[in-house]
């Protein structure tokens, strides 16, 4: 046979013992085999067993050589973590589409050393141990896995990361905090944003709104956890300056959160960055807008210092295009790219009578005066005994009101034209303000500022009611005629919204929207002028700090692409979000969210000290451990750091391959009956009621107890086995006998007796079906060992004191008995795979009444199917034990080999005919 000749290949679906045997036989006959396995390792259920029946061989010992064989056989291409997507057929050949799921580990590099799993903070129940032990999000299912390569179990993006405008790896740093890896958590946050301490305080945290735990009990206190790690870092060690390794330079106008974030990212790309700031301080609204009781100046200054330490130059007091400073055109000449992040610092006017009076101070100006203690407006900073009205319902209004209180105001009233629920301000800020004594006039709108001698003496308002929803979706306020009233105040602070001050542009050619913001391409943040980008509040209008930071990141990426001459549009990012319905709640327990400690309202309203005090370490760790690990892998990237082989690829993509094959063998195995469907046995309720497969893991030397029969360290004294759970049972839709349970129970009863010789072992049975070679002899043997067989299928299990009570009728005695037990093993039956429908449709297979795949003839065509070239092997056809599964696998291989041989002959003939 010449090697050049094209050989038809076979596709084997499922790499349990049947699939392995079929693949080896076909491969040994000289044909190519694609062996496709859904899970990360081959081995199937047999790999989970302790001993085989009836020889009591070590299951792993006789299976692993075959597992290794399929991996190393020259004719077998092993495709683990892969699934069949579809099959088409043409002229006797099949074209199979196979999905190779991203395992996020390059298996050509992975050495299986396990360094990654040691550092992975996410712990989930291990399916291989039937949830009796844990594994990490990065894992090999069991030590003898083939291939011995790690897989990252990543279910998508957690909603927290998705909701965060900057897409911080929230689940990642929360998981790390839960493990007390505070430095790693902080480093992870800083991989995305340079302001963990700031954002840990002032963020409106959309991540918490999206948090799936909110649907379970209460969301994780994500924002406060971020603050905790930022505060935990006692001394900020600035990063060493980044060497400027690209000769291009970027000018940034405005040192707010957007500009500084962009500066940070661009510096890390290796550009020279100069930031021009009009105010005498850097930080934008973080410095000039947000009061110190919410964000202490030292926190902001330290984080800005870290950005400067990267080599970023910040020129303060340098308003572009004014006061003799360079113009935008100058900057365009001197720099390779410009980013405009000037924010929105111009207060909108109320447009009512009296706005020119002494005592009217725009909110932004008022806050700037408080925060910078300079740029003083017309009022002093002493409001002692003065009465203040703040107009507006946003965070600026709240900040102004609370600051006014701290400056000694006698009475501060917020006037807002809608009701409390429509306020754009964060509800927790509103609550804090209320606690401190700020008063509210909801559904009221100012119509006139009253003055005497040029001084404010009052604010005339009108009552409003809510009408139909407007464009913003909020109900439109409508004045109620004749409801005017006057608030006696001597200071009025309008805080109804801000707009960018674009005076710097001069007669600029920059395009502007009709709302007075800069017009940009939403994807790239490019303005109409080449090389000029814009982001933050200057583009969006007043928004949150995290949105500004996200814009800064986006701008930096765009500018980098622009400077590198790349396409500006970025490839789409992200994975599908894990919805609450898909969250693994098996280990979840209700637990209330940690409360943020705060200064009491009477103390805190006196000065600008920080109100929120931050979590203690114990609080933070406990709170972080509440995380439900929605996406399993948290993308904390500890594995990336730990892997010396550089095998981790977090942005790996699923891949689809097409295979041309002449025969398909289906060996997809079985599912175990879900014992919770017979609730009378208390499975899932009593930890010491387990299934037969769980007993195998307990008994296995490589299992969670290293082969000891014990639960929570307790050795059972009374062990009860129950036959026929989920078999011969119409009410749970399983009418057939599962065929393997009688004998695996006999084997397990023997193992239980062998490992706990003084235990009383009772088997409850209906019939004992010992029909195979050596089976009856084994059944005799276990009874001779002293295992008690009682006829009668138990009806229920309940607790009495520390013991379980198995209630049954001993039908031979005709008496109802209560048998105490410390461990109950349910001999759960065998079911068709839950996705058998899908596969049957894909391959055109029929199913018999029991749901298993139908063979062509029950007696004479046991491995053929209705579809020529498609064969069945193992338990996907019907429940069977290992000897029968292997025998059928060999028969299926023979069937496939016949088909492939015929195809080869046809190919040869065609080739010969072509030559002739």
């Amino acid at each position: 046979m010449s090697d050049e000749k094209k050989q038809p290949a076979a596709l084997v679906l499922g790499a349990g013992i049947a699939g392995i045997q079929t693949a080896l036989d076909i491969a040994n006959a000289g044909f190519q085999v694609y062996l496709v396995e859904r899970l990360p390792s081959v081995g199937g259920h047999m790999a989970q067993l302790d001993k085989t029946f009836p020889t009591l061989d070590c299951s792993a010992c006789i299976l692993t050589p075959k597992m290794v064989d399929v991996a190393s056989h020259p004719n077998i291409e092993l495709m683990t973590y892969s699934e069949l997507l579809g099959v088409t057929e043409q002229a006797g050949m099949f074209r199979a589409k196979v999905l190779k799921k991203a395992r996020y580990v390059d298996i050509s590099k992975c050495t299986g050393c396990g360094d990654c799993a040691k550092v992975c903070p996410v712990v989930v129940p291990n399916e291989f141990d039937v949830e009796m032990a844990d594994r990490h999000a990065i894992y090999v299912p069991f030590p003898q896995a083939v291939p011995n390569k790690y897989t990252i179990d990543k279910r998508g993006w957690p909603p927290c990361k998705d909701a965060c405008p900057a897409h911080i790896d929230v689940q990642g740093y929360v998981a790390l905090i839960g493990q007390r890896k505070f430095a790693e958590a902080l480093a992870l946050i800083r991989q995305t944003i340079p302001f963990p301490g700031v954002i840990g305080r002032v963020c409106n945290h959309p991540c918490e709104t999206a948090c799936n735990r909110g649907q379970y009990d209460q969301p994780i206190a994500i924002c406060a956890l971020k603050r905790f790690v930022a505060d935990w870092e006692k001394e900020t060690e600035p990063l060493p300056p980044v060497e400027v390794h690209r000769d291009q330079a970027v000018a940034i106008i405005g040192a707010g959160p957007a500009g500084l974030t962009a500066a940070h990212d661009l510096a890390l790309y290796g550009y020279r960055v100069v930031v021009f700031e009009a105010l005498p301080v850097a930080g934008g609204m973080l410095a000039a807008g947000i009061p110190a009781y919410r964000l202490p100046r030292s926190v902001l200054e330290a984080e800005i210092a870290r950005i400067q330490a990267l080599g970023v130059e910040i020129k303060l007091n340098t308003p572009i295009g004014r006061e003799g400073n360079p113009s935008l055109e100058d900057l365009r000449r001197d720099f390779d790219a410009i980013l405009i992040t000037v924010g929105a610092h111009q207060e909108l006017q109320l447009r009512i009578e009296g706005e020119e009076l002494e005592g009217v101070v725009p909110g932004v100006l008022f806050l700037r005066a408080c925060n910078l203690k300079s740029h003083g407006p017309a009022i002093g900073l002493d409001l002692t005994a003065r009465k203040v009205a703040v107009v507006g319902g946003g965070n600026v209004a709240i900040d102004a009101a609370r600051s006014a209180l701290r400056l000694g105001a006698e009475l501060v009233t917020i006037v807002y034209r809608r009701s409390r629920t429509e306020m754009p301000a964060s509800p927790w800020e509103v609550e804090d303000a209320e606690e401190e004594g700020v008063r509210f006039q909801f559904l009221a709108n100012p119509i006139r500022i009253l003055g005497r001698d040029g001084q404010v003496v009052g604010l005339e308002c009108i009552r409003m009611e809510l009408g139909e929803p407007d464009a913003s979706g909020r109900r439109r306020p409508i004045p109620i005629p004749g409801s005017e009233f006057v608030l006696e105040v001597d200071v009025v602070i309008p805080a109804i919204g801000q707009t960018p001050d674009l005076g710097f542009m001069g007669e600029g050619k920059l395009a502007v929207t009709r709302w007075g913001t800069l017009a940009v391409d939403a994807d790239t943040l490019a303005t109409n002028l080449p090389g000029v980008f814009a982001g933050g509040d200057a583009v969006s209008g007043p928004a949150t700090a995290i949105q500004a930071i996200a814009a800064g990141k986006q701008a930096a990426e765009s500018i980098h692409r622009f400077l590198q001459g790349e396409e500006l549009a970025r490839p789409p990012k992200g994975l599908p979000v894990v919805p609450y319905e898909e969250v693994d709640l098996r280990r979840a327990r209700k637990q209330a969210r940690a409360e943020m400690p705060k200064l009491s309202p009477d103390i805190r309203a006196a000065d600008f000290d920080e109100v929120e005090l931050g979590f203690t370490e114990a609080q933070a760790v406990a709170e972080a451990q509440r995380c439900l690990n929605c996406a399993f892998c948290s993308e904390c990237r500890q594995c990336v750091i730990a892997c010396q082989a550089h095998a981790i690829v977090h942005d790996m993509q699923d891949e689809t391959v097409e295979l041309e094959v002449g025969a398909i063998v289906v060996a997809t195995g079985f599912d175990l009956f879900d014992a919770t469907l017979e609730p009378e046995f208390g499975y899932g309720r009593y930890p010491n009621v387990i299934t037969g497969l769980q007993f195998e893991r307990l008994s296995s030397a490589s299992g969670p107890t290293a082969g000891k029969i014990q639960l929570n360290g307790q050795v059972p004294k009374d062990i009860v086995f129950i036959h026929c759970v989920g078999s011969r049972h119409k009410q749970v839709d399983v009418e057939y006998c599962s065929r393997v349970c009688c004998m695996y129970t006999a084997k397990q009863a023997h193992l239980a007796h062998d490992k706990v010789p003084d235990a009383r072992v009772t088997v409850f049975y209906m019939d004992v079906r010992a029909f195979g070679k050596g089976f009856e002899e084994f059944y005799d043997r276990v009874r001779e060992e002293g295992i008690i067989y009682r006829r009668g299928n138990p009806s229920e299990i309940y607790k009495r004191g520390d013991k379980l009570i198995v209630r049954a009728e001993d039908t031979l005695l005709g008496q109802t008995v209560e048998v105490p037990a410390d461990l109950v093993v349910l001999a759960t039956g065998v079911r068709p795979r839950d996705d058998a429908d899908r596969l049957a449709e894909m391959l055109g297979l029929e199913r018999s009444e029991d749901g298993f795949f139908a063979e062509l003839h029950p007696e004479l065509r046991p491995v053929d199917t209705r579809r020529r070239g498609v064969f069945l092997a193992g338990t996907c056809q019907s429940p069977k034990d290992i000897p029968d599964a292997v025998a059928q696998a060999k028969a299926a291989a023979a069937g496939a080999i016949v088909t492939l041989s015929q195809l080869r002959r046809q190919m040869d003939e065609m080739e010969d005919g072509g030559e002739a």
Binding site: P679, E680, G682, C724, R728, H729, K730, Q731, M766, R791, G792, N793, P794, S795, E796, Y798, K799, R807, A808, E809, D810, T811, G814, T816, E818
Partner: protein, 378 residues
């Protein structure tokens, strides 16, 4: 009288029985009396004829339905008992006297308890509002079917009044059949009086033609079961009050203002739970009462244990009066630390309360109907 066992076995699909013993194994009275339903089925399978008359233990069955929900072959062993009782009742000999009395009273006075027909609406006394008679007005949104024990038993009447009060407070247009209401026959059927029950069904269906109702709500799960499952199609849907209250809570028509600061557990009535799978609604209501701390018993829902009040056992003690399931039930609730053992069935209320008294646990635990807790929270 001899039963033709061959015919009986075929009629009750007993040939499918694999003698697994789950029916008897789960039967709550099988450990205290001679009743062994699996054994009875076995005899019906192997004999040609069968004589039930001397089997006193047939009257031990409470019709809790555990045997039936455990049977892997979908046989209905509880119906086998009813079938065998039918032969005894038909014969007239061997029926326990108090059961015979209840049957007589049901047919002559319309109630199983021997009370006067004209006193059937005596429970309404003391209500601060009028209860409308649906027969007088010809229609109501809700037909309130009261039932014999809720109408007459002084211990249960407050429950009956509480439910009427909730209807009233929630603004529901409801009415009763007044003194014309007769027994639902649920227990009559379970005693084996099939023909008598059939005529009760006929009569009630005739009465239904005289009024219109949007739905029927019952106090007792026993009445609920009969009307829902054994009356054929009625012109209105039938609900147990726990189902209707759940709807009222969900639609905001029933809200609670006062706290019920108690630790409460709940005993599933067989005719609500095992017979009709109403497990969630009673728990839903309890968990919505402000201040109430709820915890389930270990044996709850489909694993619950009968109080021994059903299937005619309200009137007949059975063959072993020494051991009572209600005693264990009360002890389990006390062990759980519950201050209230809540029920949603008049029979459970009476049997469990008796058990509390006999055990002398009055200072530890109270048996209350869910309605009695609800009314406290209004």
């Amino acid at each position: 009288m001899k039963v033709n066992a061959r015919e009986f076995a075929r009629e009750y699909t007993l040939l499918e029985c694999i003698q697994c013993g789950r029916c008897t194994g789960g039967c709550p009275v099988s450990m205290k009396t001679a009743l062994n339903i699996r054994g009875l089925i076995y005899q019906l399978l192997i004999e040609d004829t069968f004589s039930p008359a001397s089997l006193d233990e047939l009257w031990d069955c409470t019709n809790c339905l555990t045997c039936t929900i455990r049977c892997p072959k979908d046989i209905r062993p509880a119906d086998v008992i009813i079938g065998l009782r039918g032969f005894i009742v038909g014969e007239g000999k061997g029926v326990p006297p108090r059961i015979r009395d209840a049957l007589m009273s049901a047919f002559t006075r319309g109630n199983t308890l021997g009370f006067a027909t004209e006193d059937r609406d005596s429970w309404t006394e003391g209500l601060p509002f009028e209860v409308k008679n649906i027969l007088d007005e010809g229609q109501a949104d809700l037909l309130y079917y009261v039932g014999c024990t809720p109408a007459y038993d002084p211990r249960v009447q407050p429950v009956t009044r509480a439910l009427a009060t909730v209807f009233y407070e929630a603004g529901i247009d409801f009415g009763t059949l007044g003194v014309d209401e007769v027994c639902c026959g649920n227990e009559i059927r379970r005693i084996g009086e099939a023909e008598g029950f059939a005529s009760m069904v006929e009569e009630f269906r005739e009465v239904c033609k005289e009024f219109q109702a949007g739905r029927m709500v019952t106090v007792s799960p026993h009445c609920f079961n009969a009307f829902k499952n054994e009356y054929g199609e009625l012109p209105f849907p039938v609900q147990h009050y726990t189902q209707f209250l759940t709807e009222l809570i969900d639609t905001g028509k029933l809200t609670f203002r006062r706290e019920v600061r108690k630790k409460v557990t709940y005993h599933d009535p067989c005719f609500l739970g095992k017979h009709n799978q109403v497990y969630d609604e009673p728990r839903y209501i309890l968990q919505r009462l402000p201040g109430l701390e709820f915890e389930d018993l270990d044996r709850s829902r489909e694993r619950s244990v009968c109080c021994e009040g059903g299937g005619g056992r309200m009137w007949a003690e059975g063959t072993n009066v020494e051991v009572r399931l209600a005693h264990q039930r009360v002890r389990d609730a006390v062990d759980l630390g519950a201050e209230v053992l809540a029920v949603a069935c008049p029979f459970c209320l009476l049997t469990l309360e008796d058990a509390v008294k006999i055990l002398g646990l009055d200072d530890k635990i109270q048996v209350m109907d869910i309605m009695e807790l609800v009314i406290q929270a209004l």
